[in-house]
Point group: C2
Chain length 467, copies 2
């Protein structure tokens, strides 16, 4: 048992919160999205929330935690939805929200502390330079830049720029290591992969340099189609129009839009699938020409409504927000994450639509991937049992559609289902005691785990909680 | 015979030049690029150069020319290289260079008169708003915006945005018709195709609205490879990295770079194929990582040379400038325009490289096309006879690589080898007497011409010149 009182003493001068209710609150994220994770993680709780105000304090925290053998789990906005920032072994929740300064804005790039909320970053960059992030998560109003880099994958803008994993979409990361004498390391180029999307298991990110794109007054647009596949083909064809500048392109099948997008309901037609778009104002004319040619039903455009008061942004209908809106009204809903790889992504969508029928409501996010267009599916699923969910996952995989399982809390099971040797090797250097966000990297916890055996990993610490 | 004196009287107050030497000079473009066109068009000459200073003067010129039955051929910078702006039936050369005002710059777009030089437009847009055209021809220093829209296809920036034909890459055109009472028509959306790339045969463009992109201090980069196909694969893979922001991506095989790029020679290695790049400063780091991974030989980067004085821009090594530099030193060189369609464009390049051997020096421009990457070939060809050139063209076509023949002065033969019914129909409305740039649209001159018969079109007016 680590000596938490001694630890606190070492942290004197740094903001610490140990009120159980507050600690419990900061020990959770959107894990409850998944009925599976809700069962598994409900009892997870940390010991205290520590809020560093600068990198020097991060170093002090990690040094002290290392000395006392106390786990540290970074927390940004806590908007992850696989329990990424939940402290499976207790210990310190490192709240990054006070480290929210912008250090430099230049043409094409910004350098900021990791705890800045991405919407704040975008607002300030736009005010000061007419620029904004290339893409942001749909949770931009509450998510942090560091949390996005450590836990996210892409989002609003990925239709133009691809995802976070693409070379050039993160420029630099500055991290602090979990050692007797914590080191500060700067990573660029291919080395960024060591830490990006590693859930903070091998370093605490203190600063992030990101590329910027021009900020426009993006127009929200909704186009309706009676037939889902017509909407999908519209979106796919539009995604290939390189001259039409989009920031968002999603397709959501009926009945989700009319049933769940309550604020937009006055604009929607029951029974229609919709295409949700964000388009640059100077591409709105060309987009109208395209919609007319494809006989789309232009239901909504934010530049022509009397007031946007009370109407959410288009991106708050997309990505995981689609699921969130469904969940609010129907607690039996959950979802999957599907990759429909190009070039036959549309055919794959059509096939899975046929095979799954009423079990799933289609939701696609179009994005660039390796120089072509493909789509990521975030279908809504009517949840009954874990077994039926597993069967649905297998059905996808058997038909050439990989699943990134959002019902798993480990890096590997939610991702490529294999060890990321680069991240593992880096953890050996930066976190020799394995104190950073324990339980999330199977390759570290159990090097012999057999990913092909078809069994789920259960972190021993969690098993203890159950006992 | 039209009464030119009466015409001149009608044009009183408008600048007219009829000095034969000056008229002759303004009757030519870069047609001499093609040994075939050089023979055919050498004697072409107009009757006078008329230089309108505004749209009202354009209207007066067209009205008078219509009344007197005098042909009118618009001329921008005269940098076309298929004789596009050469007055095959004589008449008025309408010099657009005085109509060079910018009317509005807004986020994402600019409205300007058609005669503005694109480099001037870019400089002013950058100064005033940090923006520039999405792409420009490599002749940007002397080409006009209207000439680009009416005669060009794409260029420096098409690696990101695709070509001019893509919806959204031209926003609006304002034209004057050739009728008893000339009309002013504004075109948007799909209607733009009526006039874009129509060589000024169905309307004189007076104003152009174009989308803008952010202007960066693009870094010129040259990467060398001993093997051409290694360079091609490097470029193709890089083109698919959606996070690395490029403005130019070309591959040029040995011996062209070392032999013809004299100002860059100190940086080049004899025998190497090169990749010519323009990259945004904030993507330079990621590009370096990519070059290192692919074992490229980084020969040149403009951000690290002591002075760029006397060294041309990277884009002046690319597009048709590659050919220009070769021609300057070896008059036996000519070229072709090849489409290597995706997704097997690299395989096609490799095949044609094998089949053509020493007859061709490979030159590829990578660009986006319908949402994917493909490459346009502008190979240098050692010219011997028209027959051998034809055989080389057939060899490409037989192997699935369409040729856009740069040795033809008609729209159809240089393009899709079929009637563009939209442009033809629009000409019926806007130029009922067929006085705008005669001889360039076969479908107008000879509706019965059989494109499949394998014969070249000869404009009767030209035959008369020979006689
Ligand atoms: C409604 C909804 C919509 C969403 N939409 C998207 C979307 O469009 N795109 C997308 O990619 N994701 C999306 N997500 C997931 C999540 O919101 C984003 O990935 C978000 O960027 C996470 O940021 P955060 O600050 O909330 O991170 P947190 O949830 O706080 O943390 C995420 C992970 O990063 C680690 N971490 C946080 N800060 C640091 C740091 N400074 N150093 C090291 N590790 C750190 C945490 O330990 C955790 O493992 C969505 C989630 C919800 C609930
Ligand atoms: C070295 C070299 C490099 C080149 N690189 C490129 C390149 O990268 N990309 C590319 O697309 N092209 C390229 N070209 C071709 C040409 O330079 C461009 O298309 C250029 O944009 C033409 O502009 P211009 O003003 O010189 O047009 P001009 O040559 O003057 O005219 C071109 C055509 O447009 C018509 N026209 C001109 N103005 C108007 C108007 N206001 N209204 C109606 N019709 C009009 C003319 O009648 C003619 O048919 C290159 C040529 C050379 C010689």
């Amino acid at each position: 048992m680590p000596d938490l009182d001694a630890l606190k003493k070492d942290l004197e001068g740094i903001a610490i919160e140990d009120n159980p209710a507050l600690v419990r609150q900061k020990s959770r994220d959107f894990y409850w999205y998944s009925p599976v994770l809700k069962d598994q993680l409900d009892k997870v709780v940390g010991d205290m929330v520590v809020t560093p105000k600068d990198e020097a304090e991060v170093i002090r925290v990690l040094k002290a935690a290392y000395a006392h053998g106390v786990p540290v789990t970074a927390r940004g906005g806590g908007t992850g939805n696989y329990g990424q920032c939940m402290p499976l072994s207790g210990g310190i929740i490192l709240n990054m929200l006070q480290m929210n300064a912008i250090k430099e804005i230049a043409p094409g790039r910004v350098l900021a502390q990791a705890g800045i909320i991405t919407a704040d970053l975008d607002r300030i960059c736009k005010e000061k330079s007419g620029q904004e992030l290339r893409f942001h998560p749909s949770t931009t109003g509450t998510a942090t830049l560091g949390g996005f880099v450590a836990g996210g994958s892409g989002g609003v803008g990925s239709i133009h720029w691809g995802g976070l994993r693409e070379l050039g979409n993160i420029l630099k990361l500055r991290i602090v290591t979990m050692e007797a004498e914590p080191r500060v390391i700067e990573l660029e180029g291919w080395d960024l992969h060591k830490v990006s999307h590693a859930y903070g298991t091998n370093g605490i990110i203190t600063e992030v340099e990101m590329p910027l794109a021009p900020a426009y007054d993006w127009v929200d647009v909704i186009v309706g189609y009676d037939d889902y596949m017509d909407a999908v083909r519209f979106a796919d064809n539009l995604a290939q129009r390189d001259g039409v500048l989009l920031k968002e392109l999603a397709v959501i099948n009926a009945p989700a839009p009319f049933d769940y997008f309550t604020r937009h309901r006055p604009f929607l037609k029951e029974g229609q699938a919709i295409v949700v778009l964000m388009v640059a104002p100077h591409s709105m004319g060309p987009l109208e020409a395209f919609i007319a040619q494809r006989k789309g039903d232009l239901r909504f455009r934010s530049d022509k409504v009397e007031s946007m008061k009370g109407i959410p942004h288009a991106y708050e209908l997309a990505w995981n927000h689609t699921t969130l809106r469904a969940l609010k009204l129907d607690t039996n809903i959950t979802y999957l994450q599907v990759q429909y790889g190009s070039p036959d992504h549309v055919a794959k969508v059509e096939l899975m639509e046929k095979l799954t029928g009423a079990d799933m409501i289609g939701h696609l996010e179009f994005m660039r991937f390796n120089g072509t267009i493909q789509c990521a599916g975030l279908p809504l699923v009517r949840y009954t049992t874990p077994e039926k969910l597993e069967a649905l996952i297998r059905l996808h995989e058997e038909n050439g559609c990989p699943i990134f399982n959002p019902h798993r809390y480990t890096l590997e099971e939610g991702g490529m289902k294999q060890t990321d040797t680069v991240q593992l090797a880096f953890k050996q250097e930066t976190d020799p005691k394995g104190l950073l966000n324990p339980g999330k990297m199977i390759a570290w916890e159990n090097p012999d785990f057999d990913f092909t055996a078809g069994k789920n990993y259960l972190f021993p610490g969690l098993a203890a909680l159950e006992g």
